[in-house]
Amino acid sequence: MKTRVYVPRDSSALSMGAEKVAVAIAQEAKQRGLDVEIIRNGSRGLYWLEAMVEVATNQGRVAYGPVKVKDVASLFEADFLNGKSHALSLGLTEEIDWLKKQQRLTFARVGVTDPVSLDEYIAYDGYKGLKNALALSGADIVKTVTDSGLRGRGGAAFPTGIKWKTVLGCESDQKYIVCNADEGDSGTFSDRMIMENDPFVLIEGMTIAGIAVGATKGYIYLRSEYPHALKTLNEAIAKAENASYLGEKICGTVHKFNLEVRRAAGAYVCGEETSLLESLEGKRGMVRFKPPLPAIEGLFGKPTVVNNVISLATVPIILDKGAQYYADYGMGRSRGTLPIQLAGNLKHGGLVELAFGITLRELLYEYGGGSATGRPIRAVQVGGPLGSFLPESQFDTPLDYEAFTNIWAVLGHGGIVAFDDTVDMAKMARYAFEFCAIESCGKCTPCRIGSTRGAEVIDKIIAGTDTAKNIKLVRDLSDTMLNGSLCALGGMTPYPVLSAMNHFPEDFNSRDSEDKKTKATA
């Protein structure tokens, strides 16, 4: 009898040797004359256990990890093909606590299926949302998305339905759906996971968006650092086209929608929607003045929906199960679930999808397992390089857009990066300015010049030169950047800088000056 063995093809799994493990399992099975079918599934997102190999048994899928090539022979010896025990046994995959406690809606299929199998996608509830959408008017689809409470998962948290409504209300010969897949925030990888591990859900979400607002063309603006996602998306798009889920007559109806992946080129600022549109048009990614809003004058001057990968990939389940089903999750004005990414110095990093409301502390310790280095967690940066650093005293903050706003922090794209007590917060503040200087599009002065000057002033603070005066100067500069920048890059760089100064003043104030150091050595 053929045994099905799953070895992930997700790029983080590959980064831990999944490809070689798959090859080794195939070779070992051949040598032993065993009939094994290797399926390259997506990753379940328990990244510290990659490469995580699963075997289909009568009881369900049984997991082993982290598997290295050297473990393969002993897995066969232990009869893992029948789910038998081994030092790397994790038990039934679905029963792994870390996974079992999650509320996977957007990520329902991730890790379960073969990402490029359209048949499996459909077998696991795929394209049910589209089917429902095809029976509704554009206005009703938009209403469903609005009622679900879905807010932009890219970072700005703007209600998705309102954006769609604006585009729906515009008269135009051409409208566009643009997916912002320029996931450049450090500590985030949920977009990549969707695109590599369940690409059809994004395709379905964009198709529904197109039908809702009357757009016939979609672009996925994908960062160039994701070559595996590019291949997977293109393969999935070709399959969807062949099966009439994309193209001139979607599922035999009058609706038309074509989709194309466009590669970005390593500019962080192109994650800002107007800069992204400039880039798609073949220009330098310079931020545009708003108004006009992209919803009214977007790509090539036409009404355009610009949504993040996760926002679009969440649309199918909303259309499948209804607005209320999704809205029943969450707290306050943050409805539904958030795919949270645990990153940096954590023992158990990976993807945790949960309803809004869980606290940072639960995520860091119950899911993250504390720091990877075993030292105390001193600071956490949430929401990417433009997010605030939070000290331990704020770890009880629930994940909720408004709760984060109240402590002058941002939830952003849901990335959480932990640092242990060896972190130098003055260096982190300096890095925030440096990153802004490298990535600034240069259009507005506060961002272009402020970032460089900021790094210089922090250098003086680090050197212990005129500390009090220079701290005041950084605060003054941050004020200008906060209030005078054109977009979030310059406008939010002060978040990491000032939060570092406010919560960890000891890293800024007590630095020995070069003079003192010289004297001390003498």
Binding site: S15, W48, R262, A265, A267, G282, K283, G344, P385, G415
Partner: protein, 164 residues
């Protein structure tokens, strides 16, 4: 990645890519990607050709090429090694890894080793943040990279070349 022997050959190659892609809306970015994929970089000598085909000025083409970190205007080494410098990787010691790479290869960022085997580039997030620090060698990502892992990657890149 193929070596481009002569200016004529480069011109022919770029011309073919232009013909293939110029009708796309916003064709410049896909075209620059195609050129870099084929030639290894975007030679400045191709700007005029691109500009003419897309009805742009040479300055506009230059402006776009130089805006994006991904595009390079000089031939890279046979392999490109990118080390992630972003926060998540910093929290797991990427700074030491960067220093180690620079010392081992005896180059700084944006430079190529003397044997032309490896070009070293910084990168700001590879989306492998649960397995920091991360490094990308050509199109493959590596996670939880130690100094020893990095040495092995360098050795492998060089030995493959030696065999070829």
């Amino acid at each position: 990645m193929q070596e481009i022997e002569s200016k004529q050959e480069l011109h022919t190659k770029v011309d073919a890519l232009i013909k293939e892609l110029q009708s796309m809306p916003g064709a410049l970015m896909p075209l620059l990607h195609a050129i870099q994929d084929n030639v290894g970089y975007v030679p400045e000598s191709s700007y005029a050709q691109i500009a003419k085909a897309l009805s742009l000025s040479v300055a506009e083409v230059h402006g776009v090429v130089t805006f994006y970190h991904h595009f390079r205007t000089h031939r890279p080494g046979r392999h490109v090694m990118q080390i992630c410098r972003a926060e998540s990787c910093q929290s797991m010691g990427s700074e030491a890894l960067e220093a180690h790479a620079k010392t081992c290869l005896n180059i700084d960022y944006h430079q190529t080793t003397n044997d032309e085997a490896i070009t070293l580039e910084p990168v700001y997030c590879l989306g492998n943040c649960a397995l920091s620090p991360a490094v990308m060698m050509d199109d493959e990502v590596y996670g939880r990279v130690s100094a020893a892992d990095l040495d092995a990657l360098i050795l492998e890149a060089r030995s493959v070349e030696a065999k070829a």
